[in-house]
Symmetry: C2
């Protein structure tokens, strides 16, 4: 299948060809979320992506890397994929942000982040196409000793992205003006 889901309008949540109905709904919401994230960073240069509002802040580039890492971490968790120690280290850094991420996630052009996000998303959609709505309901023990199901976990992936998209919009409006 193509990695671009066939969504009839950006403003519908509906069943999609190639996915079971509730997975189709998820894909619509995840795609809308991603498109608004990409719109929020459109045209940013490397300096903008590395800029931090203050010493405690994450850069917009760090937030984009975090979004990709969180999705990879939930691929691992819900699809049961193998991973290397190097993968795990990258995810730990990206998921937790903080000083180590500040040091490692900088000096990239926007295209680096956009391609990384697209690569991760394509693998998610391929895996979704091979699963069904019953799989969404598969559950395990999770935070606070409570139960989580796969449907929640993938909601969490995009709800966390939306939260950071809001932060990116706020940070972008406060970037230093640059000449040129």
């Amino acid at each position: 299948m193509s990695t671009e889901p066939a969504i009839p309008s950006p403003f519908v949540v509906t069943a999609l060809p190639g996915f079971t109905p509730a997975i189709g709904h998820l894909v619509c919401m995840m795609t809308y979320t991603r498109n608004t994230t990409l719109r929020a960073v459109e045209g940013l240069g490397m300096d903008d992506l590395d800029d931090r509002l203050d010493d405690d802040a994450n850069s917009i580039g760090m937030l984009l890397e975090h979004i990709a890492c969180l999705e990879e971490a939930y691929q691992l968790d819900t699809f049961g994929w193998e991973h290397t120690d190097e993968d795990a280290e990258r995810w730990r850094r990206g998921v937790n942000l903080g000083p180590t991420a500040r040091e490692h996630v900088r000096g990239h052009a926007l295209s680096h982040y956009v391609e990384r996000l697209a690569h991760v998303r394509a693998r998610t959609l391929e895996a979704f196409a091979r699963r069904d709505d019953a799989w969404l309901q598969v559950s395990c023990e999770w935070w606070d000793g409570q139960t989580a199901n796969n449907h929640f976990k993938w909601f969490h992936v995009f709800e966390d992205e939306l939260s950071h998209r809001g932060q990116i919009r706020l940070l972008r409006r406060r970037l230093p003006r640059r000449d040129g």
Copy 2:
């Protein structure tokens, strides 16, 4: 029905008693979103709620009012409810934020916003309980001449809240420290 939906764990998205399946999924996501918004503002005083990061910023109180107003605006749109001119004026202010909202939305304790959010949400859940998954697919012309359905519109209500929840978390960490 009770206004507290019977969700078996905060970390599941699943069908719920009293709602058709896809509406149940929406209710799970909207409830998780709201709980995290409320956690993000827990314990804030009036000064915190009115504080603005800079001259262009919205206060946390304004963002909470905006969240309530957007939900009311989509009740009107999707449930076809009657409203007064005064309602419309309040929604316009709250949905658009900006200078007029800055003037009107201040000087309230946290309980004011929390009660207002709960009041609006209870009306949404009552209306959801009387509708079904076919209603979610009802569509109309929307932004950019494209089609939107009710499922998207209610996704938009919570995706906008999540975006502002992210901003609230960022703003909260930058509030001036207050004595006492």
